[in-house]
């Protein structure tokens, strides 16, 4: 396929070797250095710490729930113990009263107690 001589000439003109302007290499180096030294824009903290924060939150929630349950159980058992003790004391004193009434009702010991 014949090549248009004008086009070839135009291409040669356009793609001819051109020396860079004076100081081009220094400017490129300086720019590279600037880019290197420029602080990197950090990724948003939310994205960076989200998995860890989520894991920590879940752990804390689990620990909190466990602690709450343990505390409730401790309080419940303590309340149960107190309830049984209160009923025991109440029963004892009612029994004391009953025995007093019973003694008073017994003719032989009528002088010992009064109700």
């Amino acid at each position: 396929m014949p090549v248009n001589p004008d086009l070839e000439q135009q291409l040669r003109e356009a793609l001819r070797r051109v020396d860079p302007a004076e100081g081009f290499a220094e400017r490129v180096q300086a720019r590279i250095e600037r880019e290197r030294l420029r602080p990197q824009r950090p990724r948003p903290a939310l994205y960076r710490w989200a998995p860890q924060a989520l894991a920590a939150a879940l752990l804390m929630a689990a620990l909190g729930l466990y602690g709450w349950h343990a505390q409730r159980e401790r309080q419940g058992l303590e309340a149960r113990q107190q309830l049984l003790e209160a009923l025991r004391v109440t029963g004892q004193k009612l029994d004391l009263a009953y025995r007093g009434v019973k003694d008073a009702a017994r003719p032989a010991t009528a002088g010992d107690a009064g109700a």
Binding site: L84, E85, A97
Partner: protein, 182 residues
Amino acid sequence: MRARISCLMALVILALLPQQAALAADAKLALPSFQALESKASETVSITLDSPLIAMAARFLDSDKPEDAAARRAIAGITGIYVRSFTFDSDFAYPKADVDSVRRQLSAPGWQQLVQVHSRKERNDVDVYIRVEGNRANGLAIIASEPREFTIVNIVGSIDLQKLHELEGHFGIPQMDLTDKK
């Protein structure tokens, strides 16, 4: 005489029927701090169980255990249990003033003395009071003075002495003979 005792106990049980919690508010006694007693006592029992605590305790009662099952029956309808008990190393080491302040509250309208026991032999006094409002009992108070022990019990709410009686044997309390065995 036994028949009279049985009648008395039956009357107690009948009088202490279930009642509305609203009526129970005044059945709670203002118990003194008993600081003077605490410092002298060799052993102190101070129990304050209001309605939420009783409900919480009830959830931890094991119905398979006879003691717990009896306790569950006894607390049905009870909204408050307050116990102060002091044990001393010497006889009658407690001042009467605190006891009297409680007794004064029990002379208020509504309270009725149910049983008064004074035993010279055992040197103890036991007074049992109930609070009645509108033909319904909504409170119980026991003041027991023994040579080396002083106890006040105040129970607020629907009280059934028969259920308390059922506690016998479960708490090491000897069985009471409530029936007439002629």
